[in-house]
């Protein structure tokens, strides 16, 4: 009599097998599995560099260019608010020397990656889910697979790479426009209202303070955070889309689920990534004490 696959395994092997299947049945496990399959699809034998690069460039522009104007407006207004609040508060309390530090922490470290990721999840993540979900419902994904084209390579991989590149670029644009354009708008407000906020602010002062406060980890995390967030957004969107069960009613549900779970995962990932800073703060505290 032929033995089943699981009967051939040793008890330890069976334990690991059960654990693996348990993880793979969970949504989070499937999400990670999809990411690993996307990475693995980069090394597929049958591929076409031309169509892949074209898809990646299209996806980068789709994610990046059309989000630019809302992102620029949000960044400018947010930068203005942060500059006015920080300068007036710190000026009142006499902490003028940590203005640069605060600006770096608030804008470059935290708000810029998170807000960029939220905007891109709301716009590109949702439209990616609808796009691929429509293909799933029309069984176009099946057709791709039967033509020998790996759907994960053809659909998921370009959107992950393109979306991630766009998120990184957009994060840098967000930081730059929050500080640069935010400063200009602040100046305009001062000029229009006749300096009602009672601020003394020059570009020289602001820029030197910020450059003084920047450290190497800030530059690294300006790349790493949007990289992680971009991967989370696109993989989650593709996963929710591919998970649609041939039912047109599932498409709007999957879209909203994709956006909401992206927000959750982004915030969790942000906390995990910020542990680096927490640890360095703790070390500083211990030296002080």
């Amino acid at each position: 009599m032929q033995l089943k696959n699981w009967q051939k395994m040793t008890p330890i092997g069976r334990l690991f097998h059960t654990l693996g299947i348990f993880i793979l049945k969970r949504r989070f496990g499937q999400l990670i599995a999809l990411f690993l399959r996307t990475v693995a699809s980069l090394f597929d034998n049958s591929h076409n560099f031309k169509s892949d690069s074209r898809n990646i460039i299209l996806q980068t522009f789709f994610t990046g260019v059309e989000i630019f104007i809302p992102l620029f407006v949000v960044a400018t207004l947010f930068g203005t608010v942060v500059i006015i609040e920080v300068l007036s508060l710190m000026g009142k309390m006499g902490f003028s020397d940590i203005v640069g530090n605060l600006m770096v922490v608030v804008i470059i470290r935290e708000l810029s990656p998170i807000l960029t990721a939220f905007l891109i999840a709301g716009r590109s993540g949702s439209s990616l889910t609808t796009y691929i979900g429509g293909m799933v419902i029309n069984s176009e994904v099946d057709a791709l697979a039967t033509m020998g084209i790996n759907p994960i390579r053809y659909l998921v991989m370009p959107s992950v790479i393109g979306g991630t590149i766009a998120t990184i670029i957009m994060n840098i644009i967000f930081s730059a426009s929050a500080i640069g354009a935010g400063f200009i708008v602040t100046k305009c407000i001062i000029f229009i209202t006749g300096n009602a906020p009672n601020l003394q602010i020059t570009w020289n002062y602001l820029s030197t303070e910020i450059i003084k406060a920047l450290t190497i980890p800030d530059f690294v995390f300006a790349i790493v955070k949007p990289l992680v967030f971009g991967i989370i957004i696109t993989i989650n969107a593709c996963y929710q889309a591919l998970n649609i069960n041939r039912d047109i009613r599932q498409a709007p549900k999957a879209t909203s689920r994709s956006v909401i779970t992206s927000f959750l995962y982004i915030v969790f990932a942000d906390v995990v990534l910020s542990l680096f800073y927490f640890i360095s703060y703790m070390q500083n505290l211990s030296t002080i004490i």
């Binding site: 089943k4 699981w6 299947i21 793979l24 049945k25 499937q30 599995a33 999809l34 399959r37 049958s46 076409n48 031309k50 169509s51 429509g134 293909m135 799933v136 029309n138 069984s139 176009e140 994904v141 099946d142 057709a143 791709l144 697979a145 039967t146 033509m147 020998g148 084209i149 790996n150 759907p151 994960i152 053809y154 996963y239 929710q240 591919l242 998970n243 069960n245 041939r246």
Partner: protein, 277 residues
Amino acid sequence: MLDEALRLENVYLSTSELSGTLFSIPRAVSYFENIRSSESNEDYQLIAGANLTLKLGETICIGGPSGKGKSAILRMIAGLARPLKGHIYYFGEYIPAERLTALEVAKRQVGYVLQNAALISNLRVIDNIALPLRYHKMGSDEEITKKVHMAMDLMRVRNFANMFPHELSVGMQKRVAIARSWAMDPKLLLMDEPTAGLDNYNRRNLLPLIDNMRTMFKTSIIIVTHDLMIAKELDCNLVFLHKKKLTEPHPFDYWLHSDSEISKDQFRDLQSVSPNT
């Protein structure tokens, strides 16, 4: 061994395959779930113990009542669904169920025309037909263009080459889908309802095309259809899906005159119209 295109041996298929493939879930999960549920429950089986042998260059039609898993059999042969048990041999080569994916099957030049044409919606008709050729780099640019134009001429969609799929009617989409499969030079072609949605003129034009493919290119073809007259016009064998099994292949006239239950169900109208033929 070498003269057979496809052989199914004692194949079992689960009912969950009717709903379609989920590419989000790793196939290992469904594989182990299927094994567990197939052992516990007999109702879980959509197909139980089907056998089929298809010779090279042979054409076979699969008939049967709707909702009994005809399309699921084609999906399984195309690699989109995985059998619970049993063996599938492609051109004499056995692919174990763990490795049976659509990509693996497509490497063996198996083409599949889906029930709804499933054209890629953001590509024009001409790009749709050229997509697999360009992706797999089957020849130079001129060869691909020539091949695509030939396919479009054969299915009479040349005038719509620069249209998007949503601008075409259902029947036209189907013709484009058939052209797309034809352009890939499949050795085994699976067609799911090729004549549904086609008018009589295009249906009559499709049949010689299928005939040409099997005589000139030695393509083996499996057609799932409710249009049983195709079997008569193509002079090929008919197989029915009956009681979760595939029957023996027999020509159209055999079924027309036999006393079996299937003949009574499927051929009643034809028998009463022309009892002597």
